[in-house]
């Protein structure tokens, strides 16, 4: 199992004991703190040659962005990044059309939920699948055993819950007649959630940090991902995760560092509701 970080800042790449990193691509990513140009990505690749470099192109793409997408994919192919995470099928279409060598990661956030579809994409030239955070550990293990794709899964970090093209914070504050400060905000119903807006739209994240230590000990995923966004004690976290990957018991310390929220690893969602529960 390899450890992947999603850096919050460029300095995070100086942290030790990780195998790979994922950064966003300028104008074609969403929810990546680092969204870089192809040139900047090439510099990173040269600077950290022993780390695998993945680039996320995970926004919904519109026609006026297709030319830039094609140009960017050609550049990333030339640079030789280890893989491109994609949401929009235009990326896969272009890989085929342009005969690009670069490997792809199926990364349709909440839709990567079964091994058959992983295998469909594998047959269509996609090497990796980034599993949804809303499936159970049992489902993850079944996918790992039956899918031909190599698997990524978020192990630590704030899970994303939703993404819209709408500028929800700008709109809200306009209605409130308060200038929007451009910062991340907190919304609260019974619990608290994080909400942030950029040029691609608005995203809402769960307010607790996923503690997926069991993915390290009880699953066969190929890439365990730590999203460093908004986390403290990053070095300590990565060090503990390495300890766990080396067979040491650090569950208690991890819980005291980031909490014990395990997401859907042990909680199966339902979708047919009994009449009296509607």
């Amino acid at each position: 199992m390899k450890l992947v970080i999603i850096p919050e800042k460029l300095e995070d790449l100086e942290l030790q004991k990780y195998d790979a990193y994922i950064v966003g691509l300028d104008k074609l990513s969403t929810n990546y703190c680092l969204e870089l140009s192809s040139e900047e990505i090439k510099k990173l690749k040269d600077k950290y040659p022993d780390k695998e470099c993945f680039v996320a192109i995970n926004k919904n793409i519109f026609n006026d962005e297709l030319e830039y997408l094609e140009k960017s994919l050609k550049s990333l192919d030339e640079i030789g990044v280890n893989g491109v995470l994609f949401y929009d099928l235009a990326v896969l279409y272009l890989k085929k059309k342009l005969h690009l060598k670069l490997d792809l990661v199926w990364n349709q956030t909440h839709l990567v939920t079964n091994y058959n579809t992983c295998n469909y994409y594998y047959q269509n030239g996609v090497k990796y699948a980034f599993l949804a955070s809303e499936i159970t550990l049992d489902e993850i293990n079944e996918i790992c055993s039956k899918a031909k794709t190599k698997t990524f899964a978020l192990a630590f970090g704030y899970p994303i819950m939703s993404h819209t093209r709408r500028s929800l914070l700008t709109n809200y504050f306009k209605n409130e007649q308060i200038p929007f400060d451009g910062k991340m905000h907190t919304i609260k119903e019974k619990e608290e959630y994080l909400i942030k807006e950029d040029e691609t739209g608005t995203s809402i994240l769960y307010g607790k940090i996923l503690n997926g230590v069991k993915l390290l000990t009880d699953s066969n995923i190929d890439y365990a991902v730590i999203n460093l966004f908004n986390l403290e004690d990053k070095e300590k976290l990565i060090s503990m995760v390495n300890d766990v990957m080396n067979g040491l018991d650090r569950e208690e310390q991890l819980t005291s560092l980031i909490g014990d929220y395990t997401g859907f690893l042990f909680k199966k969602t339902i979708f047919k509701v009994k009449k009296d529960e509607k």
Partner: protein
């Protein structure tokens, strides 16, 4: 303008709704089966009901599409092929699917159309091309696509394109929202959506209103001609869980608008009237969202739920005795002698009148109809043979 007339596609949550929407002028209807559809908590159709639905529709030379658009988990795959075969044998005209594995499985094994679900949030020409190469027969575009982008896609690719024209909107990209999973443990991508986007939240920095993300509904009535002109193939109405009255009204209005465009009789008065009819049946305000501009602050609500109860629907008409001039009805909402009402029929005709005399089931004269499901008889002179599913509503003018 294309030779082939544009398709009006309506939802139906059960067999009766299916019949009503087809009779009111839908060219095709989309339904969910008992499994694998994104409205897991609607009544949905059994295989026997799908057969009956297809027979009914095909007799009218109309079509039935079945949604198979959940995001499949490992456990959902067992049995899906058997189900697809049963549905194909039942006579379905197309499946609406989002998962490319399921698309390729259907295309490899069955001779039936596949439409790409909006759940896939397809927003550009190359994505459409990808799915065309995968043998998809039609793509339902994301609701975030503008009419300019629709035209570019249609002009560039010889493939049927379907767009939403009316009904509730997701706040988020379809497929990119699992708020329901996190808030209520109900899986939004497998049909369990609990509509968290209509909740109200406290927000740091807010002053007056709570933070809400609820959107107004979609209404593209005034853009139908533009959509026909750019060669959109199918116009889709949202709402498999909507009432008979809602469906009859919305389908009926769009049928009239489309037909009037094709025979060059649509004028501003008619469009304004149909917009009024559509507005009266809506329980939220409407907007065109992304069609001509990026959706903005005017397309949302800021003060929690804004749903209005609608009591325009007065009764379902069951028979008309021409000799005695008695219209028999099943009451739905309160009305009384002196009320101005209108009877509307599946053929699009509307008869306005004032309720002057009415009777209960025992033929005793009454002045109010106040009990839902009560049989009511109204004395009125109508120049018609009553068609099934004609309805009485408050006069709209």
């Amino acid at each position: 303008m294309r030779n082939k007339k544009i398709e009006l596609l309506s939802p139906a949550g059960d067999l009766e709704r299916l019949k009503v929407t087809l009779l009111y002028g839908a060219d095709a209807v989309y339904i969910g089966g008992k499994d694998y559809s994104l409205r897991a908590n609607a009544n949905n159709f059994s295989i026997e009901e799908i057969k009956e639905a297809c027979l009914f529709a095909h007799k009218l030379n109309k079509k039935v599409y079945l949604t198979l658009n959940i995001v499949f988990h490992n456990e959902d795959i067992d049995g899906v092929d058997k189900y697809i075969k049963e549905v194909v044998d039942a006579g379905i005209d197309a499946f609406i699917v989002s998962d490319p594995f399921i698309i390729s499985h259907i295309k490899d094994n069955y001779d039936v159309e596949v439409h790409l679900s909006t759940q896939n949030s397809t927003t550009n020409t190359l994505s459409v091309k990808y799915f065309k190469d995968e043998r998809v027969d039609r793509v339902v575009l994301a609701r975030e696509v503008s009419i300019k982008e629709m035209k570019e896609i249609i002009d560039d690719i010889n493939l049927d394109i379907e767009v939403f024209i009316h009904g509730a909107m997701c706040t988020f990209y379809s497929g990119r929202c699992v708020l329901s999973n996190y808030f209520t443990n109900r899986d939004s991508n497998r049909g369990g959506c609990s509509q968290v986007c209509r909740f109200a939240f406290d927000i740091d920095g807010g002053k007056k209103d709570k933070f809400t993300m609820a959107t107004k509904d979609l209404n593209l009535a005034k853009y139908i001609k533009d959509l026909i002109d750019i060669n959109v193939r199918s116009l889709k109405i949202e709402g498999r869980m909507r009432s008979l009255y809602y469906l009859a009204t919305v389908v009926g209005s769009y049928r009239k608008i489309i037909d009037a465009i094709y025979d060059n009789s649509l004028d501003d008065d008619m469009l304004e009237h149909e917009q009024k009819v559509l507005a009266r049946v809506a329980n939220r305000e409407t907007s065109s969202h992304y069609l001509v501009k990026k959706a903005d602050e005017t397309d949302q609500y800021y003060t929690g739920r804004q749903e209005l109860s609608n009591q325009d629907y007065l009764a379902l008409a069951t028979s008309y005795d021409k000799d005695k001039k008695i219209l028999t009805l099943i009451e739905r909402n309160y009305f009384k002698v002196g009320d101005e009402v209108e009877l509307f029929t599946t053929s699009g005709d509307v008869y306005q009148f004032t309720v002057e005399k009415m009777y209960n089931e025992l033929d005793c004269e009454i002045d109010t109809a106040r009990h839902p499901e009560e049989i009511i008889k109204v004395e009125v002179d109508l120049p018609i043979e009553l068609s099934p599913y004609s309805m009485l509503r408050k006069k709209i003018d």
